[in-house]
């Protein structure tokens, strides 16, 4: 709360800085802004920046260092019988101290109550000091910047330099995200490959990651051959594409070549809804409705269908990616120049003949690119397979059997267990790395194809 007040006060000061700077600038030139190098507003901004940024940095610094500083100070002031305890005990005592101080818990001992009072007063002092420093800096910055306003001050250039620095910093966040992903995946994967050789992971055909967790227990052997997972992923993604590509492509053709504009304007958004529904909903739908339906259907045909058959998960995933295929195909079909179509009509071709023999071949690279993008989406999809696909790592091509996928295993291995010293947990990161690499490669190829295709008709 205090922090909020301080922030608001600082922000208000910044606002004041802006208006004084502006007024000062106008006063310098006796109300004739044309004599100024920069607009009065820019002088205002410059003062505001001088006023706000150093103060804000102080507050942020306080936020970052307050917990550890307080911890050290409170601990050092504890009576000797408490201070002599191990670090872990101390952290517990410290937690109690904070609970007493902040959440109104009753203290277990006088020492703790004393420490809690100490904690509060220290916190108050530290915060007070920070507030004073921040306010002084803000006022000083304001005064200094205001004092330096003169008609030739290049206020605009300075303000813009600051803003540009911020813009550049923001644009590097995306880079850092990628670096973060790659490093964290690589780092944990390397630790994993320390336990399990790369070749076994990539080419082994047995997946049984549940290892013993005590020395006097016998778990499973801990086989980490990921081939069944890759095969399962491919099987489910393949089924999804078998569903989505014909449906998506045909809908795209119908929508772009045949449908009346009114039909199109109503139906297209409705199809897009399919892409907007959260995947957890699809997972629930697959597990609750589709999987039992397929099983019963199969049983009535005399087939044995596993309850979490690859078919059910793949089918529902296929429904989910229809809009990806259809909207991407729609784009590329619309991009085929009208002259090609007119040429075909001129030779007497019917519309469907034109589409089949002229438009589709011309749009094929783009469509292939779209299908690859959809495939990468299907491979990385998690919730549907977590909820509707199995856990047993079967190596099979039969869509009626249960298979498991890379994403399912990542979730299963990591949920609940947070120990980072066993190959079991680290395996999830190795799987993540494989997934990242595969989807990245698919995307690179797809984007390359699509771009090349666009250039052709531009």
């Amino acid at each position: 709360m205090q922090l909020l007040i301080l922030t608001v006060v600082l922000l208000a000061l910044t606002g004041i800085g802006f208006s004084t700077g502006r007024r000062r600038a106008l006063a310098v030139v006796e109300g004739n802004p044309r004599l100024l190098h920069s607009l009065p507003n820019h002088h205002g901004y410059l003062v505001a920046l001088w006023c706000g940024i150093p103060a804000l940095l102080v507050v942020v610094g306080w936020l970052a260092f307050e917990p550890s500083l307080l911890h050290a100070l409170v601990i050092s002031a504890l009576p000797p019988e408490l201070a002599e305890m191990s670090d872990e005990r101390l952290s517990l005592v410290y937690n109690e101290v904070r609970n007493v101080a902040l959440n109104g818990q009753t203290a277990g001992s006088d020492a703790v109550a004393e420490a809690a009072r100490h904690y509060l007063s220290l916190r108050q002092t530290l915060f007070g000091a920070t507030a004073v420093v921040a306010l002084v800096l803000a006022v000083a910055g304001l005064a200094w910047a205001r004092g330096h306003i003169h008609r030739d001050l290049r206020a605009r250039n300075r303000v813009e330099r600051v803003v540009t620095v911020f813009l550049v910093m923001a644009s590097t966040v995306a880079i850092f995200t990628t670096i973060g992903i790659v490093l964290s995946l690589l780092f944990e994967s390397l630790r994993f490959f320390h336990f399990v050789p790369v070749s076994e992971f990539l080419f082994g055909t047995a997946w049984s990651p549940q290892m013993a967790i005590r020395s006097d227990q016998v778990g499973s052997s801990g086989a980490f051959g990921a081939v069944p997972l890759f095969a399962g992923t491919m099987l489910i993604a393949g089924i999804a594409l078998v569903v989505a590509v014909p449906l998506g492509l045909l809908s795209a053709i119908y929508m772009s070549e045949y449908a009346l504009p009114r039909f199109r304007s109503v139906v297209k958004p409705m199809l897009e809804i399919l892409a907007g529904i959260p995947t957890v909903v699809y997972g629930f739908f697959a597990a609750l409705t589709v999987a039992p339906f397929i099983r019963d259907l199969g049983t009535s045909l005399g087939l044995t269908v596993a309850s979490e058959s690859a078919l059910a998960a793949g089918l529902v995933m296929g429904i989910m990616i229809i809009p990806f295929v259809s909207s991407l195909s729609d784009d590329v079909i619309s991009a085929v120049p009208q002259s090609l179509r007119e040429g075909a009509y001129g030779l007497g071709a019917t519309k469907s003949e034109t589409i089949k023999q002229v438009v589709i071949p011309a749009a094929l690279p783009g469509i292939v690119g779209g299908v690859l993008l959809a495939a990468s989406r299907a491979i990385g999809e998690t919730m549907i397979v977590v909820m509707a696909a199995g856990l047993a790592a079967n190596l099979t091509a039969n869509p009626l059997e249960a298979v498991t996928t890379v994403t399912t295993q990542i979730v299963t291995l990591l949920v609940g267990d947070q120990e980072f010293d066993s190959p079991k947990t680290l395996a999830a990161f190795a799987l993540g790395l494989a997934l990242f690499t595969i989807t990245l490669a698919l995307n690179a190829v797809a984007l390359h194809i699509v771009n090349k295709y666009r250039e052709k008709y531009d």
Binding site: F166, S326, S376, L440
Partner: protein
């Protein structure tokens, strides 16, 4: 001579016009077939959507009401275990379950054996005692008195009343025993069963008991996460797009950033979850299950979406506007802040809302950062453990009780409603402010 033979030969085959007509008919049929197949594909896709929504609504609509049963309850201080001591602490810790069970036994004295009494006791929710506690703490003079009260029914009773559990007696393996079904019918004939609007679904957090489980904790968790996501990703996204679109020189470095953003947009969300686990939780030591961390991970996920949308919106602003402004002496930044940004803001906001909608439905990365624990309390700050709506759907979908199927579907309906509102506002925004150049 040759002419006549030729004529004869031609006469033997059908005239060209006829051939053409037949072929044309075939071709037109193929045309119609192709068109029908196309329409069929569209309708099939829409059909899937219809089935999906129909299943969810059909399963979930009943969750918005809840069954209550009326029982005469006696506040017996001996059973409550508070003889002599009626201080607020004693009242809070009293055994309200016991008086509910006693009242049930009195209503149906035929339940004699332990097994029967267990069945009878299970007809009222194990959470019904909260209301009694509230009543008694508010008015201690109720002690020793008997009141006719509406109590929250157990989930199985609720399911039977709503028709999700068969009411016929004698079905082997029914969730409700014949005894319970008989008692339920008797209560109904006395007018002591009623369904009311389900307020608990909107006001309480998660619970192991379906009749007590609510969405409010998850809704609050979702709001916290989304606010964090918005605060982080919107400024960063807009700043990045401004830089790339208006300032960045065309060189290797900016190419790298561009490729990077396009690739990030395609990275599976579960990988972002791994990043969150490794960096935010393990290295930076942030709390598990907290909306703060969830919001940060979601911000990274929807950053590329926002950047791509914002750049498209800025690209659509015609260069003439920039040139005109520059011609009047505006600096590059002034051109951006005074002309390009205001003109492209509707597009940027639309993209942001769509990104937020995407973040709202995201589940997998949140599982990685521990947002799957059983959390009852409503989070008060973004640092408290919390669930979010899609994770709540996932948790409930895994629960075995029949009543959770209904709750899950209801949670999905709420989630879809939020998504629909967000998307609708994006569409309206685009319609209202879209400008064609």
């Amino acid at each position: 001579m040759t002419e006549t033979t030729q004529m004869a030969r031609l006469g033997a085959v059908r005239p060209t016009a006829e051939i053409v007509a037949a072929r044309l008919k075939r071709r037109h049929n193929a045309e119609r077939r192709f068109r029908a197949v196309g329409l069929g594909a569209v309708l099939l896709a829409l059909g899937f959507l219809g089935i999906l929504l129909f299943t969810i609504v059909g399963n979930g609509i009943t969750a918005f009401v809840q069954t209550y049963v009326r029982i005469d309850v006696t506040f017996d201080s001996a059973l409550l275990g508070i003889e002599g001591d009626t201080g607020p602490d004693a009242l809070a810790a009293a055994n309200y379950q016991a008086i509910i069970k006693q009242s049930l036994y009195r209503t149906f004295p035929e339940a004699k054996t332990r097994a029967e009494q267990r069945q009878l006791g299970a007809m009222v929710s194990s959470g019904a005692d909260i209301d009694l506690r509230k009543m008694l703490t508010a008015d201690p003079s109720l002690l020793g008195q008997t009141r006719s009260l509406w109590l929250l029914a157990d989930d199985d009773i609720d399911m039977a009343v709503k028709g999700h559990i068969p009411r016929q007696q004698g079905i082997a393996g029914n969730r409700l025993s014949d005894n319970e079904l008989r008692w339920l019918s008797e209560l109904e004939s006395r007018g002591a069963v009623e369904t009311r609007f389900n307020t608990l679904l909107w006001s309480s957090g998660d619970s192991r008991e379906p009749e007590l489980a609510g969405l409010w904790g998850a809704v609050v968790g979702s709001i916290f996460s989304l606010v964090i996501t918005l605060l982080v990703s919107f400024p960063l996204g807009v700043a990045t797009s401004v830089y790339l679109e208006e300032f960045a020189p065309k060189n290797r470095w900016t190419d790298l950033i561009e490729v990077n953003i396009n690739n990030l947009a395609a990275v599976p969300s579960v990988v972002f979850g791994l990043l969150g686990l490794a960096v935010f939780l393990n290295i930076l030591g942030m709390p598990r299950s907290a909306p703060l961390v969830g919001g940060l991970v979601l911000a990274l996920i929807c950053l590329p979406t926002i950047i791509i949308a914002a750049r498209a919106a800025m690209k659509a602003v015609p260069p003439s506007i920039r040139e005109a402004a520059a011609g009047l002496g505006a600096s590059k930044l002034q051109v951006v802040t005074d002309h390009v940004l205001p003109l492209s803001m509707p597009g940027i906001l639309t993209g942001t809302i769509l990104g937020m909608a995407h973040a709202l439905g995201e589940t997998a990365p949140l599982l990685m950062i521990g947002m799957v624990a059983f959390i009852v309390d409503i989070p008060a700050t973004p640092l408290d453990p919390a669930a979010v709506l899609p994770v709540q759907v996932y948790l409930w979908a895994d629960s075995p009780e029949r009543a959770f199927v209904e709750r899950t579907s209801a949670a999905i309906m709420v989630l879809l409603l939020f998504l629909a509102l967000m998307n609708l506002s994006a569409i309206l925004l685009r319609k209202k402010f879209e400008r064609r150049w």
